[in-house]
């Protein structure tokens, strides 16, 4: 059993060096807005319809409560999440490894060594294309070991992917 460690000696992960693009805030906001538009109207329409056409007081109250229960968190997320994500999401590549931090409430740091990287892809969904953004995905031999960097500028992402591909092809090591 290890001895109790002095607080000052305790380790923590420093944030990766680079931020993503500011435009990513808009991207995340648009995504959250779409999600809200898909979920909130359902109980809302049900509540309105039931209110117009029936007199079932308890059902009306239940449906409005449900609508509030869905709408309030959705709107809160829409307002708070994008900026929070922008402040958290970071990425960094060194000669030896790729390092990312993602999330907002739940946060996850991921590290993978260059010698174990198998593929480097870029992806652009329709929203991302609208904003000139791109996602870089780095996969390793582990199915659960992939790293994603969302919200990079498209050209920058293409350059990063090309650089990483070059480095990983040059690095020795068995990628399996």
């Amino acid at each position: 059993m290890s001895a109790p460690q002095a607080r000052a000696e305790e380790l923590r992960l420093r944030p990766p060096r680079h931020r993503v693009e500011r435009r990513a805030i808009t991207y995340w906001r648009l995504r959250a807005a779409l999600a809200t538009l898909c979920t909130v109207p359902v109980p809302l329409i049900a509540a309105v319809a039931v209110q117009w056409f029936t007199e079932l007081g308890w059902l009306i109250a239940l449906l409005w409560a449900l609508t509030a229960a869905v709408a309030v968190p959705a709107l809160a997320v829409l307002a708070i999440m994008p900026v929070w994500r922008y402040r958290v999401h970071r990425w960094e590549t060194t000669d030896q490894a790729v390092y990312t931090l993602a999330g907002w409430l739940w946060q996850e740091w991921r590290v993978a060594p260059m010698s174990r990287i198998q593929t480097v892809d870029t992806q652009r969904g329709p929203l991302q294309r609208l904003l000139g953004l791109s996602t870089v995905t780095v996969t390793t031999a582990s199915a659960a070991g992939e790293l994603r960097i969302d919200g990079l500028d498209a050209e920058h992402a293409a350059r990063l992917a090309a650089e990483l591909t070059e480095v990983t092809q040059a690095a020795p090591g068995d990628a399996t």
Binding site: M1, S2, R7, W106, A141, A144
Partner: protein, 536 residues
């Protein structure tokens, strides 16, 4: 490879000429026999024409159709193994040509279901470990057992195998060994007893029981009621009078029956079990009574093992070992019947399981106790237990309050009963958490019912993930994940102290995390000597 028509190319091999026999056997048992029984019965009842004749015609047509399809399949299936590839051409209407690079072949499994056994046949599945269905798996059904063994040796071994052929007398034997295969463990009869309590077989066993009970509960009472008219009422009266006795005895009967089913399944799965280390560098698991299967795992694909101490067999002092390896297929492919592919051993007495773990990977057997996680992890689990009980109590209060004619105290009783159990569960879950670093391995343990220790080779860890929820951040915890190139890509250490976990990760794989770590007071994290890194 030049694309020549199979018929003219000498290298291409066919399936076994005995292909039709298992099919005929199965058709005979499933269709022909019942038809042959039914026809005289219809004659007895005087409806030989048209019912009996229709049945006969139907059976003949079905058998003929199936046999015909099998003949076509046999005539249009060819396979060959060259220096670089394993190929198969098949298909009557839609011709497919499946070609696997030998470098990517990870598994060669031999299965011998009951209907293949009398003819000395087996079916071979050659896989790359990727998801099947996208042309990543080659199935040869059936080939002779010797041919299956030859394919297994050739495909799993990169260099040609310099082995004398097995003596003629052993050709017909099941599962021939190479001359110097090293047996690690073989089944002993008394270990079958664990099967009644083993979770996987128990799950299926009780499921079968429940299904059977559902079916029989309709049929049996009506039949019995017709046979013994007064008995049904008498039984119901008796049960109503001695309700508790009736409930308890039915429960007991269900448990016993379910346990027997589970035991039967387990015996079928693990009969004749042997784990051997073959001279070509693979570990081979052989087991099975009705469906004999042989699963080979290359040792160089072995990233580690999992030492599993599942309830309830853990209370009986048993444990088992599973492989953490690449190329065992994704989760869908993995479950063959009751036993998933990565399982290397059945439930063994713990000391025996530890010994086998050490034989598979020297140093991997359980040793000194693992370092516990911070107490905050315990309070998190206790909190969840209380939250669950609170939900139960709220539901009970709702019921007692007016939705159902149940007094309040009775509605809250379940919550009161569950509370101490939930707290005990939380305690057990906390005690299941632990980690340790040896000279060669990283050990991460978790779980209460499904308690398992992942013993990973340090060089097999190819990345780290550190996950933190807001609650964990508040308590100074995080969840550390080690990624490995195996089907279960990441192994977690939940609720480890943040600093504790990072120190573990830093020492386990030097130089990977170090550039990104800093000390809490702002200094850089130079590599530290830690008393955990004792030689294993």
């Amino acid at each position: 490879m030049s694309e020549t028509a199979p018929e003219t190319n000498e290298e291409w091999l066919r399936l076994s000429p005995l292909t039709l026999l298992p099919t005929i056997l199965v058709m005979g048992a499933v269709f022909a026999l019942p038809a042959l029984v039914a026809v005289p019965v219809t004659a007895l009842f005087g409806v030989l024409w048209p019912v009996g004749v229709l049945i006969l015609l139907g059976a003949v047509l079905l058998c003929g159709l199936v046999v015909g399809v099998e003949v076509l399949r046999y005539r249009h299936t060819w396979y060959r193994v060259t220096e670089e590839r394993a190929e198969m051409r098949s298909g009557v209407l839609a011709r497919t040509h499946l070609s696997l690079s030998r470098e990517r072949i990870r598994t060669v499994d031999l299965q011998r279901p009951l209907w293949h056994r009398p003819f000395g046949l087996c079916y071979v599945t050659v896989g790359t470990g990727q998801s099947a269905g996208s042309g990543e798996e080659l199935k040869l059904d059936p080939v002779a057992v010797e041919e299956g063994e030859r394919l297994r040796r050739e495909l799993l071994h990169r260099a040609p195998v310099r082995q004398p052929d097995p003596e003629g007398g052993t050709q017909q034997e099941e599962d021939t060994d190479g001359p110097s295969a090293d047996e690690l463990v073989a089944m002993r009869r008394r270990w079958f007893a664990y099967g009644a309590a083993s979770l996987a077989s128990a799950g299926v066993g009780f499921g079968v029981l429940a299904a059977a009970a559902g079916v029989l509960s309709d049929v049996v009472p009506t039949l019995l009621g017709q046979a013994f008219p007064g008995a049904a009422d008498a039984v119901i009266d008796f049960a109503a009078q001695y309700l508790l006795l009736a409930v308890l005895s039915s429960l007991f009967g269900a448990i016993v029956l379910g346990g027997l089913f589970a035991l039967a399944l387990y015996i079928e799965a693990w009969w004749g079990y042997r784990l051997t280390r073959e001279p070509d560098g693979t570990l081979r698991v052989r087991r099975g009574l009705l469906n004999v299967s042989s699963i080979s795992i290359e040792e160089r694909r072995l990233r580690g093992i999992r030492f599993m101490e599942y309830l309830p067999v853990r209370w009986l002092g048993a444990a088992s070992v599973a492989a953490v390896a690449s190329g065992l297929g994704n989760t869908k492919q993995q479950t063959q019947g009751v036993v998933p592919k990565p399982y290397l051993t059945p439930e063994l007495p713990r000391a025996e399981a530890a010994r086998v773990a050490g034989e598979i990977m020297p140093g991997a057997e359980p040793g000194p106790p693992l370092t516990p996680h911070p107490r905050a992890a315990l309070s998190r689990r206790r909190f969840r237990a209380c939250a669950l009980v609170a939900v139960l109590a709220a539901g009970g209060a709702g019921l007692g309050g007016g939705l159902a004619p149940v007094p309040l105290w009775a509605a809250l009783a379940p919550a009161a009963v569950v509370l101490p159990l939930a707290l005990l569960y939380a305690q057990g879950a906390y005690r299941g958490l632990g980690h340790r670093l040896d000279a060669r391995f990283v050990r991460l343990r978790r779980g209460m019912v499904l308690r398992s220790t992942a013993v990973l080779k340090r060089e097999a860890v190819i990345g780290w993930r550190v996950h933190r929820s807001p609650m964990q951040r508040w308590r100074g915890l995080s969840t550390l994940g080690a990624t490995v190139a195996a089907h279960k890509g990441v192994h977690w250490a939940p609720d480890i102290g943040t600093g504790q976990g990072l120190a573990l990760a830093q020492q386990a794989v030097p130089d990977l995390l170090t550039p990104f770590l800093e000390r809490v007071d702002g200094g850089s994290a130079a590599p530290r000597q830690d008393q955990d890194a004792r030689p294993g």
